[in-house]
Amino acid sequence: MHLADNALVLGQRNAEWCGHGPVLEEDLALANNSLDLIGQARLLYQHAASLINADPAEALRFAHLQGARQNGLIAEDTLAYFRGTAEFRNHTLMELPHHGPLVGYAVSERDYAVTIARNFLVSALMVLVWDGLRASKDAQLAAIAAKSLKEVRYHLRHASDWLVRFGDGTEESHRRAQAAIDHLLPYCEAFWHPSPAEQAAAADGSGVDVRTLRDHWNALVNDTLTEATLTRHDQPHAGYVAQGHVGVHSEHLGFLLAEMQSLARAHPTAVW
């Protein structure tokens, strides 16, 4: 569910650029990224739904979700559209808007540097996570991982290329990229504090222990930041560790879900 929520929430964010991108090619690239992520989310929710439906205890835990069921059973849209904010398990990083730090109901222009910096930081993680999950003892998850790995490699390439262009581009693009990295890096600390669910998955061989990926992630990130002439200010880490992946989010997710779920929730029994 953590992986699915990550994919869905970031996919929803990246799709916001559709029609507003800085250049037509980037509208298409972001739409493509978003399509990949929503595709991943669908496969993961479908898989999660089948696991829930097959396990009476789990089915009971999700019994309060009544919308978009299929033949009375939990379906992908039940999980995506009818869970509340605190039931989402995505990293806080995914839900942040495309601008610098502001409260939940502030408005601000979108900043493409924030978009690119996040896609870079997330893709660097997911390349490693999906790579590891190809060996998951959950065959379904392993298959999703194999497919997703190809996609996220491309996302990482795209984001890295732009981050280097920004860092090593104009004064303004450098300033924006550095500010975006400074803003977002602290949220990455949460990657290395796996939730109980992530730890259980790692322990039973269906998941990966993300903590083992940290050095590799650091190397990936540092290499590109160096090429981009950007500086990493977050070491040693001191401060709050974001807790979206255990259900304690930022003020932003509530607004994102209110919009995303509005139509589906207005018609809970409808088939689309």
């Binding site: 559709c18 800085p22 399509l35 929503i38 104009t170």
Partner: protein
């Protein structure tokens, strides 16, 4: 001249004019105007449907919609490329759009107000666009004709997807059916107007026909669209909002009521419900993206310099 004679011969033989071939200035200008207008329509047309991506009511529909809007952007890209073969750059074309000198399809100056609008745009707007565009696949200018073949293929797919989405909604709740009917009511007449003014009032058409750019008249295309759409509406179970619409066995066509051309021209001339909003949104995206484009150019220049240094 010999060039003109050759050109005329190619046109008469239904052959293709290619970028390096000689062509009359008027032909070139007409094509640039038409292709860029078409490209702009694809780009501006991303906005009405993009408006519903964040609220799509299922993940499947969200994915389909993103893919569709992405396709429209893709059409924009290769239409701009086709126009560039005529010697006008994408920047020049965008400047013309942003300054209000170039037009885009007026249908996009109406808002998308409920989810069914997305399906109706697929079914009726794309449907009308395809009617307009299929003849262009045989257009005399090679790059345009080839681009249109690809565009038409994808648009047909979109049109079927839109119709399918509406079919599902019409089998759903009373509210879903009401949404579809509401969307059809708002879009039907605008779609009929998409074929342009009646033949009698359409001055550009004759030369366009001569040049093999335009192949079928506005009124003929409109009739063709109506004849194809009425049975689809019946299957769907929606009422087309025209009391005069009925089968005329004598003509072998459907008769239809008068189109409000005043409203059409008002919208074309900038007084529609969303002309300002659509254009301002495109201008804003372009302006706010300037630093991104500049960064890419600055970085490329630095890279080149470094490579030259290494080479030296």
């Amino acid at each position: 001249t010999a060039l003109q004679t050759h050109f005329d011969a190619v046109i008469d033989a239904d052959g293709k004019i290619e970028p390096r071939d000689w062509m009359p200035d008027g032909y070139r200008k007409t094509l640039v105007r038409q292709i860029s207008q078409h490209a702009h329509s694809e780009i501006v047309g991303m906005l009405p449907e993009g408006n519903w991506i964040s609220r799509a009511p299922s993940l499947k529909r969200k994915a389909i919609l993103i893919a569709k809007v992405q396709d429209e952007g893709g059409h924009g890209l290769y239409l701009y490329s086709a126009a560039e073969t005529l010697g006008t750059s994408r920047d020049q074309m965008l400047d013309a759009l942003h300054a209000g000198r170039a037009k885009y399809s007026s249908i996009f100056n109406y808002p998308t107000l409920n989810w069914a609008d997305v399906g109706v745009i697929g079914w009726l707007v794309d449907g009308a666009a395809i009617m307009n565009q299929i003849p262009l696949c045989r257009c005399s200018y090679g790059p345009y004709a080839r681009a249109m073949i690809r565009v038409c293929k994808e648009e047909s797919f979109h049109q079927r997807q839109g119709y399918e989405a509406l079919l599902v909604m019409m089998q759903g709740t009373a509210e879903q059916k009401a949404m579809v009917q509401d969307a059809v009511n708002r879009y039907w007449w605008k779609c009929l107007a998409m074929f342009g003014p009646p033949d009698a009032d359409s001055p550009n058409s004759v030369q366009g026909m001569r040049w093999g750019i335009k192949r079928i008249s506005n009124d003929d295309l409109r009739q063709k669209f109506i004849d194809a759409t009425v049975p689809q509406a019946e299957v769907l179970g929606v009422t087309l909002p025209d009391p005069d619409l009925k089968w005329n066995a004598e003509r072998g066509h459907y008769d239809y009521g008068p189109i409000d051309w005043d409203e059409f021209w008002a919208t074309v001339n900038g007084h529609g419900p969303m002309n300002k909003e659509r254009l301002a949104t495109r201008v804003k995206a372009h302006e706010q993206g300037a630093w991104v484009r500049e960064a890419a150019m600055a970085h490329a220049a630095k890279q080149q310099q470094r490579q030259q240094k290494e080479a030296a």
